[in-house]
């Protein structure tokens, strides 16, 4: 390209391609893994309405397990009004056409023939826009939208924007499906491992012993001893199974709690005051957990609070290490601490500690980590054995 060639303005669709992504990320970033699918797709509908001239939108997707199509999220329309609808591709030609032709279809006349009559009557739709949620040969569903009544026409630009949003929504839906599938597989895998462990150890030992004890003749000394050993082993197996980690251990971060606190204290935005009490060095084995709890507490504050300041207190004595994060701007809400803090609580349990969280003094919210410190005197007996052998 020669340098004196005039720089052509990018086509409007390219500008449209960036903003949708910004809005989608903004709306979806705060969603946790445990967020209900309805809320997830409500946000997608909200994004559609924010980015286009549409005022009402609903996502309809195929439920492959139940082999039916149903509304899975909406914006500008109470979801309860849609949840009972069971449209099919046969009675919704507008959706069939949108998916087959991979284009945005607008209908202003004959709506009753284009969608199930219940849908048209319910919402008083006069012009309906149906956008395919499909990409890469996969069809996830359709987005039905309108301006809340009144006839209208779509410009080519807006039609293209909606088509792009449909692709983006398909991408988001695909990513969500994969993530949820992976999470389900992980949980199932853990459950299977636990079941296998119990089946292969505890259950077989108990069964063998119950067969032996079921014999009519009294057991001899050797057989009784075998029963005793098998029962002991079964108990030990059971204990090991119960002590399996309930949550992944906090990963090594390559930084320290002190470093992290210094970083957030200097960061713009949230006012963070740090109080290191006494000898508050952080034990190395507590570092990942403490950082994890701090990160979750700050994340919750950013998401759910509007504090004038955040107070972080770090303390340590001979018996325990404590990290407390308080803020004075809790906005109420449903009090659900979110998955992050629950997982942090599981992480703490694995180290014999606890994570407490909750409101206090009205609009204050606190997250508190307490971890007992392992004493050398307690962790090992003087002669190397924790218990004296009775026999």
């Amino acid at each position: 390209m020669s340098v004196d060639q005039p720089i052509a303005s990018p086509p409007p669709s390219l500008f449209a391609g960036v903003e949708p992504l910004e809005v989608f990320v903004e709306l979806l970033a705060e969603i946790d893994m445990h967020t209900a699918p309805t809320e997830f797709y409500d946000r997608i509908c909200e994004a559609i309405c924010r980015l286009t001239t549409m005022r009402r939108a609903a996502v309809f997707m195929a439920d492959t397990t139940r082999r039916r199509v149903r509304a899975i999220g909406s914006h500008g329309i109470p979801f309860e009004q849609l949840s009972g609808l069971r449209p099919t591709l046969v009675n919704t030609p507008i959706a069939q056409r949108a998916l087959l032709e991979d284009q945005v279809v607008v209908i202003s006349e004959g709506i009753e023939e284009a969608v199930p009559s219940a849908y048209a009557q319910l919402l008083g739709v006069t012009t309906l826009v149906c956008t395919p949620m499909s990409a890469g040969g996969y069809a996830y569903g359709v987005i039905c939208a309108d301006r809340g009544g009144g006839q209208f026409e779509l410009s080519d630009g807006e039609r293209h924007l909606l088509w792009t949003l449909g692709k983006t929504a398909a991408l988001v839906a695909a990513a969500r499906n994969v993530t949820r599938q992976q999470e389900r597989m992980r949980r199932l895998g853990e459950r299977l491992d636990l079941a296998r462990e119990i089946h292969e150890s505890v259950l077989q030992r108990l069964f063998g012993v119950s067969l032996a004890l079921g014999a009519e003749q009294p057991l001899d000394r050797e057989e009784r001893e075998r029963c005793r050993i098998e029962m002991q082993e079964a108990l030990a197996d059971l204990r090991r199974a119960l002590e399996r980690p309930l949550a992944p251990l906090a990963p090594e971060t390559g930084t320290t709690l002190a470093g992290e606190l210094e970083r957030v204290r200097k960061s713009p935005g949230m006012v963070v005051e740090v109080d290191w009490r006494g000898d508050s060095s952080v034990p190395a084995d507590v570092e990942p957990l403490a950082q994890s709890v701090l990160a979750e507490a700050l994340r919750n504050i950013a998401k759910h609070a509007n504090p004038s300041r955040v107070e972080v207190a770090v303390a340590r004595d001979e018996e325990e290490f404590t990290l407390e994060v308080r803020n004075d701007g809790a906005r109420g809400g449903d009090g659900d601490p979110g998955m992050g803090l629950r997982l942090a609580a599981f992480e703490a349990l694995q180290q014999g500690g606890a994570v407490e969280f909750g409101a206090f003094e009205g609009d204050h919210w606190r997250v508190r980590l307490v971890v007992p410190l392992q004493s050398d005197d307690l962790s090992a007996a003087p002669d190397g054995g924790a218990l004296e052998d009775v026999e």
């Binding site: 089946h199 069964f207 067969l211 032996a212 079921g214």
Partner: protein
């Protein structure tokens, strides 16, 4: 009960289970000899050589399928009757029969009940848990009727006429059947149903 003495083979990959059976069955007057195998290869060798009256086979042997081994034992020693045993889950009589077994016992049963089941099967009878302990049937009676007509090659319209149902209802039954059997079409549904003993 018949007072014949029986040769019993126990196939399980857990030493403690062998020991428990040895203690329990060793004292039984109806047990002539007791053999134990940890793998399918050992079990088949013993089945050929000793012709046990009954083989008690763990459904989940390490790396092997107890159900498949059951069929192999029956091939190696047709006179040997198989009693499947498992620590997890329940097996319907139909599924056990499809694997060539004459009974199923669970590892949470009392020892005397297990011993009685071994003896019954060894004597040529069957031993299945009472209905209440069996898994809920996968298909309803109506779905089974529709399935068996599908297996005979009937169309939905023919099935509807035969069972006095509307074609729409038959279509709904077939959809449910496919879902329950995880099948994509009629042929696959029939094939899977045969494999798990739902069709004769």
């Amino acid at each position: 009960m018949d007072d014949r003495r029986l040769r019993v083979l126990v196939v399980d990959d857990h030493d403690v289970v062998h020991w428990g059976f040895r203690v329990l069955l060793g004292e039984q007057p109806w047990v002539e000899r007791f053999f134990q195998a940890r793998t399918g290869v050992e079990a088949l060798a013993l089945a050929r050589a000793q012709k046990p009256h009954v083989a008690l086979v763990d459904l989940f042997l390490a790396g092997e399928s107890g159900a498949e081994l059951s069929a192999s034992i029956r091939e190696a020693s047709p006179a040997t009757r198989v009693l499947l045993i498992s620590g997890t889950g329940r097996m319907s009589p139909a599924a056990a029969r499809a694997a060539g077994a004459s009974g199923f016992v669970s590892k949470d049963w009392e020892a005397s009940r297990v011993a009685a089941a071994v003896r019954r099967v060894g004597l040529g009878m069957t031993s299945f848990p009472p209905k209440a302990e069996q898994p809920a049937p996968l298909l309803t009676e109506r779905e089974r009727e529709v399935l068996s007509l599908i297996a005979r090659g009937s169309t939905n319209r023919e099935i509807a006429e035969r069972l006095y149902l509307s074609p729409h209802t038959v279509k709904e039954h077939t959809s449910v059947l496919y879902r329950k059997l995880r099948a994509r079409n009629r042929a696959e549904a029939v094939q899977r149903a045969q494999r798990i003993g739902l069709l004769g």
